[in-house]
C-alpha cells in the first residue's frame, strides 16, 4: 500500500477497491515510464480493443484473427504512474513455431515486462487458458483480463472469476472492453501487480511423467546456479529439452543473466493465493 503523506490513513483510502484517480491516456507520448505492461492473448480476443481503450490510440481492430502482426506500443497513466503498454501479436501458444509467436515469446522472456495482461475470450476459456498457462510458466506477474463477458452472458455462460483467480493464482478481472466495462478494475489490478501490492503465485502446469521430472531436476538446478534469480528456470529447461534454437542461443550467450529492470521482486516465502482484488 502506498501511504498517503497528506492526510491520516482513513480506511477508505487504503481500501484496494478505491479508485485511484482516473485513467490518463498518453497515446504515443512515451518518453519515460514507471512500468512496462505486455498485452498478450489468443488472436481475436480483443487485445487491440483493450490497447486502444487504455492508450487512446487507434490501432485497427477487427473481428478477424491475426489482425495484429506487429508489436504496437502506447502509453497510459494511472494513479500517478506511467505505464508503457506493448500490444503483442495474438498467438495460440508460445512454442515459437511462427514469427508472431516468436515476437510474443521473446518479448515476455527478454523484455521482462513488469506485468503481463493476458486477454482471454470468456466464451472460449478452455482454449485460451492453454496460452495463459504457458505465459505463467515464463512469468507469474500476470493479470487475467476476462474479456467479452457480454458474449458469455449472451450464450448463457457463467464464468466464476473468483474461482479462476484462486486456481491460477493471479488477479482475474471480468471485462467487456468494447463497452469499457470493467476497465477501472482491470487498471487497478495491473497497478497492484506492478507496484507489488499484490503478489502473484502463478499456477504451474503439472508434468506427471516421472521420466521428465528426472530429466528436469538436474537441468533446473544447473540453470539456477548459472543464472541466479532466473524466474523461469523450469520453462527454460523444458525449452532446452525441446531443442529450441533461440533459447539454446540465449543460454550460450548468457542473455538470461542480464539484469532485469528495477521492480519489486516476488518474496521467496509462499504467499497465500490471491483472489481477484477488484471485482
Amino acid at each position: 500500500m502506498k501511504p498517503d503523506p497528506q492526510s491520516a490513513p482513513v480506511a477508505c483510502e487504503t481500501c484496494p477497491s478505491r479508485p485511484r484517480g482516473g485513467l490518463l491516456r498518453l497515446g504515443l507520448r512515451l518518453s519515460h515510464w514507471d512500468y512496462v505492461v505486455a498485452l498478450a492473448g489468443n488472436p481475436n480476443t480483443g487485445k487491440s480493443t483493450v490497447f486502444n481503450q487504455l492508450t487512446g490510440l487507434r490501432q485497427h481492430t477487427g473481428n478477424w484473427p491475426g489482425k495484429t502482426v506487429m508489436r504496437a506500443e502506447g502509453g497510459f497513466q494511472f494513479a500517478g504512474k506511467r505505464f508503457k503498454l506493448v500490444d503483442l501479436p495474438g498467438t495460440y501458444s508460445l512454442l515459437a513455431t511462427s514469427p508472431d509467436e516468436e515476437v510474443a515469446r521473446n518479448f515476455l522472456l527478454f523484455g521482462r515486462p513488469d506485468v503481463t495482461l493476458a486477454v482471454v475470450d470468456a466464451t472460449r476459456l478452455e482454449r485460451n487458458l492453454n496460452l495463459v498457462l504457458q505465459i505463467l510458466e515464463i512469468t507469474p506477474r500476470v493479470v487475467l483480463c476476462l474479456n467479452l463477458m457480454d458474449q458469455a452472458q449472451r450464450l448463457g455462460l457463467q464464468v466464476d472469476d473468483r474461482r479462476l483467480a484462486r486456481d491460477l493464482g493471479i488477479p482475474v478481472v471480468p471485462v467487456t472492453a468494447r463497452y469499457r466495462e470493467g476497465l477501472d478494475a482491470l487498471l487497478q489490478a495491473v497497478y497492484d501487480v506492478a507496484t507489488g501490492a499484490v503478489v502473484c503465485r502463478g499456477y504451474r502446469v503439472r508434468h506427471e511423467d516421472p521420466e521428465l521430472t528426472r530429466a528436469l531436476e538436474p537441468l533446473v538446478a544447473r540453470l539456477q546456479r548459472a543464472f541466479p534469480g532466473l524466474p523461469n528456470a523450469r520453462w527454460v529447461a523444458l525449452r532446452l529439452l525441446d531443442g529450441d534454437e533461440r533459447i539454446i542461443e540465449a543460454v550460450r550467450t548468457g542473455e538470461f543473466s542480464e539484469p532485469a529492470p528495477a521492480r519489486n521482486e516476488t518474496p521467496p516465502t509462499p504467499a497465500p493465493p490471491v483472489t481477484a482484488t477488484a471485482t
Binding site: G62, M70, E126, L133, Q151, D161, D209, L219, A226
Partner: protein, 478 residues
C-alpha cells in the same frame, strides 16, 4: 562474461543435449498434452452452463448456411454483388454534387481570382488547371464510392463474415498448393495490397508466405475499385436497359474481382509447381463468433482509417501528377506537346493490347498510386482529341458531372467497348503500386522476389489484354 560462466553455460547445453536423447520423440506431445489437460480442468471448474439444453444457436445456424458446401460460395458472390450495387447506385448523386461544387463553381472562381491577382499564365495553369483540378477530380470521383463501399465492407468485417469467406476458399487454396491462410491475406488485399502483404506474416512457412505475397496484387485494392466501378457503369452498365444498369455494372465488378481470385489461385498453383515447390502445411482456422457490429466503430474505421487514408494518399499523389499532366500537355516539342508525342509513341503498343496510348501514359504517370489513373486518362483524352466543348484549354481537366458526358469524351477519344473491357482487365492485372512493392521488399528482404512481384502480373496483364484484343477483333465484335 567470465570464461567460468562460459564453461558453466556450455555444460548446461551439453547436459540438455544428452537428456534430450533419453527423453525421446514423444516428449513434445506429452508436454503439450499436459498443458491442455490442465487448461481443460481449470476451465471446467470455472465455467458453468445454467441452461441444460442450449438455446437456439443463431451463430451456428448462420454458419451452417454461409459455409455450406452448396450455398457458401453463391451466397458470398451475391452478398458482394449487393455491396457493389449499393455502392454504384448510391455514389451517383453525391458525385454529381461534388463535381458541380468543386469544378463548376469553385474552379472558374479560382481562375478569375488568380487572373485578378495578376499571377502569370504559366503559374495559373500549373496551379489551378493542373494541381487544383487534379485534386478536385480525385475527390469527386473517388470520395462517394469509397464513403459507401468502405462502411459496408467494414460492416461485414466487424460482423465476422470475412473469416467465413476464408473458410469457403480454404480448400481451393490448398489445392492450388498454397497455405489456407492465404485466403485471409487475400481478403485483406481487397482493402489494400500493402496491408495484405504485411498480413502474410501469419503464414509460417516461408515458401507459402512468398506465394501469398506475390499473388496478393490480384486482389482488387481500394485504389482500383473506383476505376472498375466507373468503367463498368460507363461501358457495360450503359448497354443494359436503365433499370438494370446498376445491377449489371455490379455483376461485372464482382466478375472482375472473382477473376482476380481465380488468377490468384492459378498463379499460386503455377508458383508452387515451379519456383516454389514444397509441402503444403496444415493449420486450424478459428471462426470467430458473430458480434453485433458497432455503428460508431464502423463509421470511424471506414471513414477515418480507410476512406480518409486512401483519399489523402490519392490527393498527395494527384497534386504533383496534376502538375506533371499540365506540363506534358503544355510543353511543346517541335509541332506538338510532349503528351501528344508520348501518346503517339505508345499508341501502337496500346492498339495491340486493345488499349491506347492515353491509358498506357496514364499508367506511367500513375505508377505511385492506382487511384489517379482514371482522372489522368480523362484529362489526357480531352487533350489529344481537342474537344472544344469541354475544358478550358490544353491540360485542363473538365467539368464532367454526369457519366454520360464522361462517356462522350471517351467515345470521342476512340474508345470502344473493347477498350473499356481491357482497361478493367489491365487495372486488375498489372504491377503493384510502389507502396506495395516497397512493402514486398521489406517483408521478403529480396530484390529478386520484389522484381518477380512486379514483372509477373505485368507480363500476365499484357498477355491477357493482347489475347482478348486479338480474339475480339478476330470475332469482329470490336
Amino acid at each position: 562474461m567470465s570464461s567460468r560462466g562460459q564453461s558453466q553455460r556450455e555444460e548446461i547445453l551439453a547436459c540438455a543435449q544428452s537428456l534430450r536423447w533419453e527423453l525421446g520423440a514423444q516428449f513434445h506431445e506429452k508436454l503439450v498434452e499436459s498443458i491442455y489437460a490442465d487448461a481443460a480442468r481449470i476451465a471446467a471448474r470455472a465455467v458453468t452452463r445454467p441452461g441444460a439444453t442450449p438455446r437456439f444457436d443463431l451463430d451456428r445456424a448462420i454458419d451452417r448456411l454461409v459455409t455450406s458446401r452448396r450455398w457458401g460460395i453463391p451466397l458470398m458472390v451475391l452478398l458482394f454483388a449487393l455491396v457493389f450495387w449499393i455502392t454504384i447506385v448510391g455514389a451517383n448523386y453525391p458525385s454529381q454534387f461534388l463535381a458541380s461544387l468543386l469544378v463548376d463553381r469553385l474552379y472558374p472562381w479560382l481562375r478569375e481570382g488568380a487572373a485578378a491577382l495578376g499571377l502569370p499564365a504559366w503559374l495559373r495553369g500549373l496551379g489551378i488547371d493542373g494541381v487544383y483540378l487534379a485534386t478536385a477530380w480525385v475527390v469527386s470521383v473517388m470520395l462517394p464510392p469509397m464513403a459507401i463501399f468502405f462502411p459496408l465492407f467494414t460492416f461485414l468485417e466487424d460482423f465476422g463474415y470475412l473469416p467465413r469467406v476464408a473458410f469457403n476458399l480454404d480448400n481451393l487454396f490448398r489445392r492450388a498448393g498454397a497455405h489456407g491462410k492465404q485466403a485471409l491475406t487475400m481478403m485483406m488485399g481487397f482493402g489494400c495490397n500493402a496491408a495484405g502483404v504485411t498480413a502474410t506474416r501469419i503464414i509460417d512457412s516461408p515458401r507459402e508466405r512468398l506465394i501469398a505475397m506475390l499473388t496478393n496484387n490480384f486482389s482488387l485494392c481500394n485504389g482500383r475499385w473506383p476505376t472498375q466501378i466507373l468503367i463498368a457503369s460507363l461501358f457495360i452498365g450503359a448497354l443494359a436497359p436503365p433499370y438494370l444498369a446498376g445491377l449489371v455494372s455490379a455483376a461485372v465488378v464482382v466478375g472482375v474481382a472473382l477473376l482476380g481470385v481465380l488468377l490468384s489461385l492459378a498463379a499460386s498453383w503455377f508458383l508452387s509447381r515451379t519456383a516454389l515447390r514444397g509441402e503444403v502445411s496444415t493449420f486450424s482456422l478459428e471462426l470467430p463468433p458473430y458480434r453485433p457490429p458497432r455503428l460508431g466503430q464502423i463509421i470511424y474505421t471506414s471513414l477515418i482509417d480507410r476512406t480518409a487514408f486512401v483519399l489523402w494518399r490519392a490527393l498527395v499523389f494527384a497534386a504533383p501528377a496534376g502538375a506533371v499532366i499540365w506540363l506534358v500537355a503544355n510543353v511543346r516539342v517541335a509541332d506538338a506537346s510532349l503528351a501528344e508525342h508520348l501518346i503517339h509513341f505508345l499508341d501502337p503498343l496500346g492498339f495491340w493490347l486493345g488499349l491506347n496510348g492515353v491509358i498506357l501514359l496514364a499508367y506511367l504517370i500513375a505508377i505511385p498510386a492506382n487511384e489517379i489513373v482514371i482522372p489522368t486518362v480523362l484529362m489526357l483524352t480531352v487533350l489529344t482529341t481537342r474537344l472544344t466543348g469541354v475544358g478550358g484549354g490544353a491540360g485542363v481537366m473538365f467539368e464532367l458531372d454526369n457519366p454520360a458526358d464522361t462517356l462522350a469524351v471517351l467515345r470521342a477519344g476512340g474508345w470502344t467497348l473493347l477498350t473499356g473491357v481491357n482497361l478493367m482487365l489491365f487495372s486488375l492485372i498489372h504491377n503493384p503500386c510502389s507502396t506495395t512493392l516497397y512493402t514486398i521488399y521489406k517483408e521478403s528482404g529480396s530484390w529478386k522476389w520484389t522484381g518477380v512481384a512486379a514483372a509477373l502480373p505485368l507480363a500476365l496483364g499484357f498477355a491477357v489484354c493482347f489475347v482478348v484484343a486479338q480474339a475480339w477483333r478476330w470475332l469482329g465484335a470490336g
